[in-house]
């Protein structure tokens, strides 16, 4: 994992030097879990996504890196758990704290011919880190681990003006990751997300 990230962060800036256009973005990311919803199921607006992308030569393809994070939390009312020769009764919070790195590629095109709107569709591949936390009273139990992440994404870049380098960005994405936790009976992660934010483009 570390090797992969090192290679990505060395190669991508080098590629960017050759790129004509590139942009940074910072988005608020709203996610709804689709799998293991008995752990967390509610939509969470506590997420974000930042990244860097560059156009590859004169083509319509771009590539880049994405860093994303999300936090889910759900209250569980008082429950009694049987464990061997005993039981434990408590109310608790189930929490899922995650962050991910992905290398991504997109196909871009222009909409309207005025140089303002650029829809794109692409996919990101990388790694997702999940931390599962059970918080009860003043105590906490947790488990964590990495998984492989695949994230198809479609969105649009809307520049604030033809000569402006800043614009708004919106996208929808589907995340699938192989993360699992035997402690919390968590088998894989998938979610659908909507992100909105701004980008800064260098031309």
């Amino acid at each position: 994992m570390k090797k992969l990230l090192t290679v990505l962060f060395i190669l991508l800036p080098a590629c960017a030097l050759l790129a004509q256009e590139n942009y940074f973005y910072l988005n608020l990311d709203v996610n709804t879990p689709l799998a293991n919803t008995d752990w967390v199921s509610k939509t969470s607006g506590r997420g974000g996504k930042a990244g860097y992308r560059f156009m590859i030569g004169e083509s319509r393809f771009s590539a880049g890196v994405d860093f994303a994070w999300a936090y889910f939390e759900e209250y569980a009312p008082t429950e009694t758990f049987q464990n061997g020769n005993g039981a434990i009764t408590t109310d608790y919070f189930k929490k899922l704290n995650q962050y991910s790195f992905a290398a991504s590629g997109q196909y871009n095109w222009e909409l309207g011919g005025q140089g303002l709107f650029f829809p794109y569709a692409g996919i990101g591949l990388g790694a997702l880190h999940n931390q599962y936390i059970m918080a009860y009273n003043i105590y906490e139990d947790s488990d964590k681990g990495w998984g492989f992440l695949a994230r198809p994404e479609a969105g649009i870049l809307a520049r604030f003006g033809k000569r402006r380098s800043m614009g708004a960005m919106a996208a929808v994405h589907f995340d699938y990751a192989t993360n699992k936790s035997d402690d919390y009976n968590y088998s894989s992660y998938s979610a659908v997300g909507f992100q909105i934010g701004i980008f800064l483009m260098n031309r």
Partner: protein
Amino acid sequence: MNIMKRYLFFLAVIPTLWSCEPEPDNLRLLDQLVVSTNYDPDAAFGTYKYYTIPKDTIGYVSNTSRDTIWTFTTAQPYPRSVINAVRHQMDSLGFEYVDRDQDPDVGMNIYIIENLNLFQQVYYPNYYSNYYGYGGYYYYPVVQTYAQNTATLVVEMIDLKNRNANNQVKIVWNAYMGDVVNSVNYEQQSIDAIRTAVRQSPYLH
């Protein structure tokens, strides 16, 4: 335009910072104690009938005090409150109270384990790499101390009927209830927790 960019980026940073992990609603978690019970699967709970329990004193184990008992006073009614709560639950289970010299089958033992943890962190304010005497400055570090105090209420059922050859007794059931220190109403929550401990132990009936 530069001001505009900074302003917009600042606006974008606020929601993303907000998205970082917050603390759960602590008060919601502290309004009841966590109740953990364990039992000896070899114990024949159905054969126990008579129990005994101290009247006004519970045990006290602490890493900050030499006291080993906590006795009821009008200013500190907690020991009697939890003893009465245990007695009430034992009576409702069908056990009968007897004095300790009347050959009880089980003894109920209650105590508090209090644990004060201190964490110290050393900060070096304005530390320069040039050591003093070599033209630089050196400020002495600041030590900050954090304290976390926790306490667990423990109730044990001790089998006095089946002593071994060395006259030793065995704990056949226990309940750990915490955290007492950080609870919203520790006395009432302790009483509620004792009731929960018995409810989640149907084999005691």
